[in-house]
């Protein structure tokens, strides 16, 4: 870790288990028929003993196959899930983009949606009003502000969502594959804004299957497998480890 920088995110011994019920007992009948009978659960250990730090200003990548716990980890960092074990400390304002356009409603106008989405992302009404023109201009949506969102093309919706998202004032940004949705041009613009964010000394935690992007942009990376950290450090090394792991799996157990 770089000397002289503070710690943005501190994760120590974090574990998360989901109880996946077999035929979830959510109706009264089930409660009354078998009041003392406990529902059979399958325990799924999504994360176990995760410990790592992210320094301020670091671009930190997380890779791993599907179901390895990447999204669960981001949701624990974002405070959406509560971990069962360990501690998470976040220094600064953390802004999660688990998905672009949270709270978008197709029946409302772009104007209303900017207000709702911006509010959910932590902007005040005044900030949204002040930055409204900028948001609309960035998305090139001036002509459509008062149209219902259902009349927007999916590309326009993504542009609108991204335009709002980049207006949020944060210290730490969590990105979960959100950039995979747009076209080439859009992705290019996204990475340009990410570079700006980095120059401003902000921290970015980036989950992606785009290994090229991880290699190109990240200072450090972490490999998750079955909820545990398999490798951490220089992105090249971590990706090599990931590659070897996938290759071994492809060949099959020896």
């Amino acid at each position: 870790m770089t000397v002289g920088r503070g710690v943005a995110v501190e994760v120590a011994g974090v574990g998360k288990t989901f109880l996946l019920p077999h035929g979830h007992r959510t109706t009264f009948k089930e409660y009354f028929l078998h009041p003392f009978h406990r529902t059979a659960y399958e325990r799924q250990q999504a994360l176990s003993d995760i410990t790592f730090d992210i320094a301020e200003g670091e671009f930190f990548g997380i890779v791993g196959p599907n179901g390895s716990g990447k999204s669960t980890l981001l949701k624990v960092l974002a405070g959406i899930y509560r971990q069962d074990a360990g501690t998470v400390r976040v220094n600064g304002v953390l802004s999660p983009f688990i998905e672009l356009g949270v709270g978008f409603n197709m029946e409302l106008t772009a104007r209303d949606n900017i207000l709702i989405n911006g509010t959910l992302l932590g902007l005040t009404r005044r900030q949204i009003n002040d930055r409204f023109d900028e948001i609309v201009a960035f998305g090139e949506l001036e002509r459509f502000v008062d149209q219902k969102l259902k009349n927007f093309s999916s590309g326009m919706q993504v542009r609108l969502a991204y335009s709002v998202a980049i207006q949020v004032d944060f210290d730490i940004l969590l990105l979960d594959e959100v950039l995979a949705v747009g076209d080439q041009e859009f992705q290019k613009r996204c990475f340009e804004t990410l570079a700006e964010i980095r120059r401003a000394g902000k921290t970015i935690v980036f989950v992606s299957h785009d290994l090229g992007a991880i290699k190109e942009h990240c200072d450090r990376a972490m490999l998750l497998l079955n909820g545990s950290i398999q490798a951490m450090g220089d992105p090249e090394d971590v990706l090599a480890h990931y590659d070897a792991l996938m290759h071994r799996d492809a060949v099959g157990p020896i």
Binding site: T27, K75, I80, V102, G103, E107, I116, L120, G122
Partner: protein, 257 residues
């Protein structure tokens, strides 16, 4: 944040409908007309008091608020599961905002009651200034119930059917369409344990001051002395219990909703 979401919910509620916001007035009015014809005219409850009709309207408007708010509150968390899984913010905002949406409808309906009062040539009194306070008490009780229901519904999905039924019972158990004087004194006390009944009767007693005494029975009259604080304490207690229970369940909404 609360205001933004409550306003959006209000806009959404009537989007695409021809009559729009008018529905929030038309629905209680339609229920009122129906019940007035059946109970006021056919069963002649009308003859007991010149204020039967407008008194019934007050009851229905308040009940519609309670029923709408708690029903919207109950489903508020479960129906927004996708939102809850993507962003962390105090979940209590969701449930509070939908009850506020119902509150906006109540305010519109109160203007209709105002028109009826003017038609009946009832002169406003200074003590009517207490009515907003009573509405705040009713809101506190309603929010408390909604918070309990919203958090419970995440675990118990039968609750929606049960609550719909409970609201029907609530309607007939409360002296909305029959005068409270119909009940024997012990049943009146029981009815006044419900903060809704206390608020409704207090408001009626304030609005229809020339009405017959048996229609103006309030919790203060039924319990006497300090007993009048009992339903108020129940309303505040419900809000506290609702808040504490909701906050304790909140960390698990994202994985269970």
């Amino acid at each position: 944040m609360l205001a933004v979401i409550a306003t959006a919910e209000f806009k959404l509620k009537y989007t695409g409908s021809v009559l729009g916001y008018a529905w929030s007035v038309l629905k209680p009015l339609a229920l009122f007309t129906l019940l007035y014809l059946v109970f006021g005219r056919v069963f002649n409850l009308n003859e007991l008091s010149p204020y039967y009709a407008v008194s019934l309207l007050v009851g229905i408007v308040l009940y519609s608020f309670f029923a709408d708010a708690t029903m919207l509150g109950l489903i508020s968390i479960v129906t927004r599961d996708s939102l809850i899984r993507k962003i962390a913010f105090p979940r209590i905002i969701i449930t509070t905002s939908v009850t506020l949406t119902a509150g906006m409808t109540l305010l519109i309906n109160i203007t209709v009651v105002g028109a009826f009062l003017a038609y009946k040539q009832i002169t406003p009194q200074l003590d009517w200034l207490l009515i907003p306070l009573l509405l705040v008490e009713l809101y506190a009780f309603t929010l408390g119930v909604s918070l309990i229901l919203a958090a419970l519904f995440v675990r118990l999905r039968d609750l929606q059917q049960v609550w719909e039924l409970a609201l029907q019972l609530f309607f007939y158990a409360s002296p909305i369409l029959y005068p409270i004087g119909f009940l024997p004194p012990w049943a009146q006390k029981l009815a006044f344990l419900n903060p809704f009944t206390q608020v409704m009767q207090d408001i009626r007693a304030l609005l229809f001051y020339p009405d017959v005494a048996s229609n103006r029975i309030t919790a203060a009259g039924a319990f006497g002395g300090l007993g009048r604080v009992v339903p108020i304490a129940i309303a505040i207690g419900t809000l506290v219990v609702g808040y504490v229970y909701f906050r304790r369940q909140e960390p698990w909404f994202a994985e269970r909703a």
